[in-house]
Structures are given as structure tokens and as C-alpha cells.
Subunit: 499 residues, 2 copies
Amino acid sequence: MNTSEKTLAALRQHLHETALLESTMALLEWDEHTGMPDRAGDYRSEQLMLLSGFVHQRKTDPRIGEWLDELSTSDLSADPYSPVGALIRCVRRDYDRNVRLPESLIKHLAKATSLGQQVWVKAKRDNDYAAFQPSLHEIISLRREEASLLASDGEPLYDALLDQYEEGAKSKDVASVFEKLRDALIPWVRNAQETAQQAGPSSVEGVFDIEAQRTFSRWVAKKIGFDFERGRLDETVHPFCTTLGPHDHRILTRYSDSSFSTGLYGVLHEAGHGMYEQGLEPDWYGTPVATAASLGVHESQSRLWENSVGLSRPFWDWCMPEARKLFPSLEAVAIDRWVRDLNRVQCSLIRIEADEVTYNMHILIRFELEMGLIARDLNVADLPEAWSDKYQNYLGIRPPNDALGVLQDVHWSAGLIGYFPTYTLGNIYAAQLYEAADRELGGVGRLVAKGEFAPLLAWLREKVHRFGRRYPPMELIEKATGNAFSSDALIRHLRTKLA
Amino acid sequence: MNTSEKTLAALRQHLHETALLESTMALLEWDEHTGMPDRAGDYRSEQLMLLSGFVHQRKTDPRIGEWLDELSTSDLSADPYSPVGALIRCVRRDYDRNVRLPESLIKHLAKATSLGQQVWVKAKRDNDYAAFQPSLHEIISLRREEASLLASDGEPLYDALLDQYEEGAKSKDVASVFEKLRDALIPWVRNAQETAQQAGPSSVEGVFDIEAQRTFSRWVAKKIGFDFERGRLDETVHPFCTTLGPHDHRILTRYSDSSFSTGLYGVLHEAGHGMYEQGLEPDWYGTPVATAASLGVHESQSRLWENSVGLSRPFWDWCMPEARKLFPSLEAVAIDRWVRDLNRVQCSLIRIEADEVTYNMHILIRFELEMGLIARDLNVADLPEAWSDKYQNYLGIRPPNDALGVLQDVHWSAGLIGYFPTYTLGNIYAAQLYEAADRELGGVGRLVAKGEFAPLLAWLREKVHRFGRRYPPMELIEKATGNAFSSDALIRHLRTKLA
């Protein structure tokens, strides 16, 4: 090994040990959400706090800066898209960010968001926005302060926040693509609302045996390609996906005995996330080369399996016979009607209950509002009114109170600003990817109808998964699909969902 | 705070953070044995290795020695049985041990035992003692070396090993108490063997629905006092109990659909361990004050619930009605016969399948053999012959091969020498404790028959659990029962098991 190679090896060893600790934290959190005894919570927090201190120390270790300085002049960093070149570029990006933020600000933010979430829970329960307002005000100030330390000259503060979740994304570009989507959706949503009012009861609502749902969901997850030798499926209150090691990916769902969608579509969604993680390069685990490209790209993988595949007619042509074995009541439901009911479009106040079409509207509203808050075009005091006005204008419904309006999501109370847009970015990427795969594989629906999922998964592995963070997300999507970032594919897809 | 109090606070904070890491390791191990994906093992080992390095560093931190030196002259250490005094005494004991062993020996032992277990698995499968002999030879040499670094002048090397699992126990005393037990057992065992040959099929063997066993075992564990708000019950291949925090105690069992005993008695055994841990003082978690007194005392708690309570007639008078609801085939089995079949005495070659009476004979044989190995009165090459002779002499049966003989247990391959006697020490303590509780509570059987377990658990909490390691095990038992360590109570108890 020459000097640069030795430096690279030292850096990689450092990242490797940091990843061992972070993966351990992921297990502590997974266990907390699956079956930790009720009274074990305080001690668990202490364990997490101790380890997160170790991790923070490691991530701001000045040796990282020295190693990077050495490597920046070496041949190893010549190609910023090669595994090693990308590793150096991304570690530099993360390290610079970590050292640029003073510990006092990080602690202040941690305290404000921890408290903020507690206050939010109570405020939501009591429908009392005024009680939450001071917390939100403080959180926004702190995140503005953070953004001002990170933003380059002349860059909008919001972009510095967005960039943490979606590398390289600019709010100006995102806003213009989102506006096009919004303008396409508004008339459809109005129209769908009228149609929905005439629809009868949905076949998706009813009584569905939980044990049968478990069997069916696990069978589907396995068939689409989630690898159970390298993962598991458990149950929790708020479904998520987490990675505990290069060969340890865990997905979690919850089942409802009165709605078929909750369990299965939760599993499809989380399995999409899980298969992405399973498609990263295990040998590079713990480095940016084997880390998801962005939250938006992550969401594109869950949405592609959940919506583009799982809500399609060919998917049900394939799996309805199996479903009918487990749920005899489905014998009486025609596939046509079942798929139509699964895809029903209906305006609602609550984001997490929204259908595929209106879902994006909930996101666009939050994106517009949080940009306003960070830019100080919108005061925290005026947020509930602004929220309600946008729901009125875009979805044609007005929340009767703040609990069903501005207080519904945990995100802002947790300091997550710049995070919401990644949900719709995920939907946009998913539609772009699905169109490209459909073209290159000669029709994905044709394969799905036969239960052949391997070609689609292989295509995603080849075009997206294996690269990790080597390309910034929008470049990755353009490289994979041949098309620049645009909401056109999503608009085309959503149009097919309208009656 | 005065200076000593400040020093004590620093020591306790150090212990607290070490415990946070050790509890995290316990979770990594628990998860490994409950549901970790098949391919995640290598990475899990790396996580454990990293954390165990941190823990070792903390346990040999020279500041501990300095703090102890300061505290040894303070009033705080005046009473060696008070919480603080015992903490100082036990931490001194552990620290001295940790720093007396050179890191090279520890690493050598870790490597030899890790390899030893792999070699043992293969040797057992192939019935090839010769393949295992070099590993065992090396492990014994290393543990002799360890013992010679720890033993005080003139002390037998074996005692230095035994002392690690059972503080203060002397092999001379243990051997004399064990011999008395052995001499009582030999004629009974011979006699039982003849009776067993005349017995018909056992009602305990048959087909027992696993889901019903789960329900029944969980119900029993809850009724006897295992706190599910501070613990959980899961399944694994080799049952165990582990503690993950002051309010997080996890027990594991396995169920067999052809034997009723495996599942339920596994749960009773592990719940006994778990309730001991739940009875330690949560505020002193991570210190010797809230650590089990010894392996023998730990085993006494599991055996007391499993054997003294669970195999008794009053226990089945109480729970048979509930069992019959879940296992309709028990309607046809009289309680008399059921309890007799559960308590059947029969000589067998395999320790873990042995009944309550012959079980101890398996332990006594191992104890005598390993004392011989450490004293070099017995050569590793001659071990299989010596093993078989003892089985012949004490149990009247001779193993047909080494796989069913000397190769059956993992312990020696894992370096666990001095560990086996704690199983019979546990049985002895359990019998002593049960007799004392019976006397003081006016008949435990009377309470058990009514399903009233709280008085017995409260008695154990008061006499044993709450003290942790504040008293050495044999002192603790004498203090709790009013009687010195002796096998008399166990002999009286086992006599009742004979037909």
C-alpha cells in the first residue's frame, strides 16, 4: 500500500467502527419499537444517549479532516463518481457539515425538539395551537441559525435544510416542478371529490383476519424479492424500515382488522425501502458508497412497490387467487371492483390516510408553508390560518380545528424542516423510474401479472441501488431514466387513477 | 458532598456507563438468539467485539484503583455488608482480578475457547474425542495459568476458578457436602432404576399443542410473579434469562410438541432466574449491590420455582383445572398419576434430560473429574475412561460412545471450569431456602395449592434478592435460612421423590 492507500484504509476503518456503533443504536431503537417492556424506556434512552455521544465524537474527529486533506490531492479522489472518489467527496461533505455546527447549537436543537415533541403531543390532544406556538417558533429560529451556518453566499436558507435530506436539490427547481404538479392536480381533485360522494361502500373496508393478513403479507414480501435470510418482518405502531448491518434489514408494519390496505400496503412500502437497503453494496457498508442516495430516492423505492406495482391491476391478477384462499369473502369481489376500491380518490384532511393522488397535495401545502416560515414570509402565529386557506384552495376542504389541521404531523415539532418535500420527490422519481423500467423491460405489468418480479428488482439494483450515494439524487434519476427531474411521469401516472 | 462522597459518585458514574454498554451487549446477544436474520452473524460478532473492548478498557481503568484506594480509608467502607461498603468490597475484588490477568492471557483464552467450541461441535458430531483432546488440553493449561495468577498462597488452583462463579466457596467444603449427597443418592438411584423398568408409558409424553403450551406457560409465569411490565418471554433453541436494564428482564424457552415438560418447566426455571433479577435493587443497577450473589444462588432461584414448587402436588392441585381447559387430553389423567409421571426417576446418560434426583449425580461426576484435571491427578487423555467409570459406578450405566459421554456438554470447550458445581449448589441452596420458607410461612404447599405465590416471592425478595452481592453466597444462605451450607435439606427433599 502507498501512503494514500494507507490513509484511505485508516479512514475506512474509522467509518467501519462508527457504523458498528450506529448499527447498535439501530438495534436499540428497533427493539424499543417492537417489544421492549413498558418500563424499560428511561434506561433505553440513557443507552442511546451514551452511544450517540460516542458517534458524534467519532464523526467530528479532527483526524477525518487530516485524512481528507491528504486524500484530496491523491489520484484516489480524481473521479468523484468512482466508489473511492465518491466516498471521499461524501465524507468531506458530511464532515464539513458536522464540524461547522457548534456543539451548543446541536444540544440546543436536541433539547428544543425533544421538548417540542412532548409539547406537540399535548397540543394536538388538546387542539391547542397556542400551546405549541412558542416551541415551533424556537425550533424554526434554531434551524434558521443552523441553515445560516451551512448556506453558501446568496443561497436561500431553506436550501441548506433541504440539502441535508436531498443532496443538491434547490428549492427553486423543486418549487417549479411541484407547481406544475399542483396545477394538474387541482381540477382532478375537485372532480374526484364529486365522484367519491356518489360511490358506495368500499370492498377494502370490512373484517380481515389478522393472522391471514400476516401470512399473505409475508408471502407477498418474499415473492417481490425481500430477502428474509437478510431481514425480518415485525409489527409496530408506526411502521418503519431499519438497517442493523450489511445483512440485517428489518421492516415493520401494523395490521388493522377493519381495513385490508393498512397491513399489506405497509409491508409493500417498507419492503420497498428494505430491498433498496439490501441492494446496497455489503462490502462498502458503513460508507456513503453503501448509503441511500437521499430520502427522496429511498421513498421512490417504497412508493414504486407500494403504488406503481401494488395498486396496479396486473398485481391483483397475479395475487387475487392466493388472497381468496386466505380471505374467503374476496370470492364475492370482482378484481375490477377491488382494484377500483383500492385506488379510490377522495379528499381528506389527514395526510397519512390520503390516496395516491391527493397525497401529494398534502405535501405541496407543507412545502409551501415551511418555505414561507424559513424565509420569514409567514409568521408562526399566522400558520394555522395559512394552512386552512391552502386546504380550502387546493383540496376544497377546511379543517374544523387545528388538531385535524396544522397539528396533525410530528415532523415540525421534531425539527424536520425540508423533509416533507422528499415524500413527493419520491413519488416523482418512482413514476420516472417505473416508466423507464416499463420501456426497457418491455412492459412491467406483463411481468407482474405472472408474478415475475425479479426483472424489475434487478433493473432497480442495476440503475439505482448499487450506486448508493455515488451520484447526487437528481443526477442518479436522470442517469437511470434518461430524463431530467420532472413531474410529467407522475402526472401521467396519476391521471390513470381517475374515474 | 465531602471528598469521599465525590469519589464514590465518580466511581458509581463510571460503573453506570459500563453497565449501559454491557446491557447493550446483552441486547445484541438476546437478539442474536431470538430472531436475527441468518446471514447477520458475522457483523453481530464484530459489534460485540468492539463493545467488549470498550468494556474491558473501562473495567481496567486505573482510575478505579485510585478511587478504591481513597475509599478504603473512608468511613464509607467501614461496614462491608452495607450497600456502599459491599460495593467497595466487590468492586475491589473484581478490579484486582481484572488487572492481575495480563491482556495476552485473556486474548489467548478467548481465542482458545472460541476455537475450542468449534472443534467440540465437530468432535461431538463425529464422536471423535481425539480431535477435541488438544483443544481441551490447551484450555486447561490456560485456566491453570489463570488460576495460578489469582490463587493465594497454598490455595488449590481449582478454588481460584470456583471462586469466580461462587465467591468464597472452597473445593474442600464443597467436596465434603457433595460426597454426603452422592453417598445418599447411589442406593436410591440403583433402586429407582429397577422401579422405572417396570413403569408403563408416561402421561407427560404425548402430543401437546404448542400454541396452548405458550398460553399456559405465560399464564403460569405471570401468576407466580414474573413481571411482564419489566420483562418478556420469547423462544429460542437453548433457553436462558438475560437482563437488559433495571426494568428489562427477558426469559426464553423452547417448546416441544411431544413433551409437556420442556416448555413449561423451561419457563418456570427461567422465570425463577428472571424474578431474582427483578428483585434486585433497580437504583443500584450496574453495581455489585444489584448483581446476583453467585451462579449457585441464581440457580437456587430457578430450581426452587421449577422443582420445589413446579413439581409438587399442590402446584398441580392449583393449575390442573386451567391446564385441562387448554389440553383436553388431560381430562383423562388423574393428578396423582400426572405428578408421579412428572417426577419419574430414571438413570440416563444425558445431564440435560435428567430428572431431579439423578441430575445431581451428573454434576458430581463432572465436579470430581474437573478437580482432577486442574490438579493434574487426571490426564486429559484418560478423561473418557474416567468419565465412563464414574457413570458405571454412580449411575450403573456406561456410555456406549464419547458423544453420549464426555463430549455431551459445551462447558469445558468454552473454558467453563469450576462452573458445573454451581448447578448442584443451586439445588442445595434451593432445598435449604424452601425448608426455611415453609417453616416461616406456615406451609408453602398450602399457599401454592390456592395459587398464592406472593408470600413465597416476598420471602425470597426479603431474604435473598434485595441483597444482591452484599453477602458472599454461603453467608447469604445461612443468614436467610438459619442453617449452614449443607446437603441435608436436599437429601430430605429428594427422598420424597422416590417411589
